[in-house]
């Protein structure tokens, strides 16, 4: 062959996925209306929970070890971090498979999973720059929210939330791949969102649940998305507990990524490029 090939280097590899991140960022910029609606939706959610918990705390000062201020902080910070870790790679993947556009990714020298992750990170980046700040400002003005337990806790909270992004992406990617088996998976995606909201502890702290349920959810990746980072923020984890939580998150990052790769291997055999 006359042609010269160019070897991959790590840095070039990184740049490649960085580009996918950038594109996703720009895509988000294009949807200004849904951006505004998104900000308002988040604030409504936090408000609803605020009034709900306020009513709940009418009779007792603390419930299951949380006082009202902690609870409000839990909810607000929960939604603020959700505004960061959320992404739509599952939906995008489904649409790509349905339309057959996935072919256009497969003809390029890219790792499909890393590409999807990069897209997810691009969306997160967009949010941290433009979406999360207004939510932080409005919610802190409206509700009594405490700061992080300590600077150390703040640091680990940020690290932990970043790991949430990866775990969330790992789950989203794997679920999105199911569209290769079932052409319509909107039902699955809907229940996935409900399950993540519940089992991640976003709606109700997981230690409010019966013991058996807590034990059950401790074995699942979802609690690592919201419950663990929030416990760190509130200062409910220290020392070895903190190290354990972060290590557990790391473990889930790796496991969800590996499962994603495995499912992709199986899917590849099934994938039918629609159209043409």
């Amino acid at each position: 062959m006359s042609t010269r090939r160019f070897p991959d280097s790590v840095i070039d590899g990184f740049i490649k996925y960085n580009e996918y991140m950038r594109i996703s960022f720009h895509k988000m910029l294009a949807y200004r209306v849904s951006y505004l609606i998104g900000v308002i939706t988040y604030i409504i959610h936090v408000s609803v929970y605020y009034f709900l918990y306020k009513a709940l705390y009418h009779q007792s000062h603390t419930i299951n070890g949380y006082d009202l201020q902690q609870m409000v902080t839990y909810v607000a910070i929960g939604w603020i971090s959700k505004s960061f870790y959320l992404n739509y790679i599952d939906r995008e993947l489904t649409e790509e498979v349905k339309s057959g556009h996935v072919a256009m990714d497969l003809i390029k020298p890219i790792d499909f999973q890393l590409m999807c992750f990069a897209r997810g990170l691009g969306q997160s980046l967009f949010r941290i720059v433009l979406f999360t700040p207004p939510i932080i400002i409005v919610t802190t003005c409206m509700f009594p929210i405490s700061g992080p337990a300590s600077p150390v806790h703040m640091f680990f909270f940020i690290l932990s939330t970043f790991l949430s992004v990866l775990i969330y992406s790992g789950i989203n990617y794997t679920i999105g791949l199911l569209s290769i088996f079932f052409l319509s998976i909107s039902g699955i995606l809907y229940s996935k969102n409900m399950i993540i909201e519940l089992l991640s502890g976003l709606l109700i702290p997981l230690d409010w649940f019966p013991l058996w349920f807590q034990k059950f959810s401790a074995f699942l990746p979802f609690q690592a998305i919201a419950f663990l980072p929030l416990k760190i923020y509130l200062g409910r984890l220290d020392g070895s507990g903190l190290v354990y939580a972060i290590s557990l998150q790391f473990l889930w990052v790796i496991i969800t990524m590996l499962i994603g790769r495995l499912v992709w291997k199986i899917c590849q055999r099934q994938i039918l490029i629609q159209g043409g």
Binding site: E19, A103, M104, K108
Partner: protein, 334 residues
Amino acid sequence: MALIEVEKLNKVYKNFKRKEGLKGALVNMIYREYDEIRAVDDISFSINSGELVGYIGPNGAGKSTTIKMLTGILIPTSGRLVVNNLIPYKQRYEYTKQIGVVFGQRTQLWWDIPVIESFKLLRKIYQIPKDHYESRLSKFKNLLDLKPLLNIPVRKLSLGQRMRCDLVASLLHNPDVLFLDEPTIGLDIIGKLSIRQFLEKINNELGITIILTTHDLKEIEALCKRLITIDHGKILYDGDIDGLRSCYTLNRSITFQLIKNFDFDNLEQKLKFDGNVTLERLDQLRLKINFSNESLNPAKIIENVIKEVEVHDIAIEEPSIEEIVGRIYSGKKN
């Protein structure tokens, strides 16, 4: 060894049979029946480096399915498929660096960003050194007149403009093989012509092997030396275009424009040919002779006619490539 080797390649799609009505839906939940569609049926061919091959067939023949397997995005049900010593679907990552792909129905460019940005992105994805990238881009830019398009987002381009950009996108990383699935679908004559000339040029000058599907047979005739025809997943013909002509019994005709009014019956009596030949009077001055290419050659007929009458002009009608291919599609040998 050939660049592309395909041996007993098969692709079977399983289509889930949906039963109608509520009862059917319930039955479907438990018991699923499948229809099997053999889109590619035991095909074999090999293509050498530098060839420009037309891959044609009627709708649903299995062309796109073949191209999808050749480009590594669809896994064959069975059979052997090797391109450039790689197995496309197994070594997809490595393989994609060596091929360029254009699906006329879609774009590999990013919808919302200017074309030039998409190109820059591709440079990073394929890790093309800057100087290579720039020299190739400036060359293609001139050949396809892309300059006015580069700063426009893809969604604002016309079909023909987009296709030209997609074509360049598929070539930036200097592939050995270019796969094109209906690259001129929906294009006007000028658009088709410019793509045709471009393909000819890159095939000749850069030695890029090209496999192209199309429904435009004129294009095939002008561009490809070799033709593979497929229908119902099976190869019907594989060879050069002239060979295709001689392969079939075809009706040709010669029309003579005469100087004087002629006596048709008399002439018919005098002109006696072997084989299947019919004479036809078109009008006072025109005589048409229909014959098949098996029995006679035109020179013989002309020679005989000139002996009998004075001729002003002669027109020989060749069967069009459409006619021949139409014959292949409809399965008639004669």
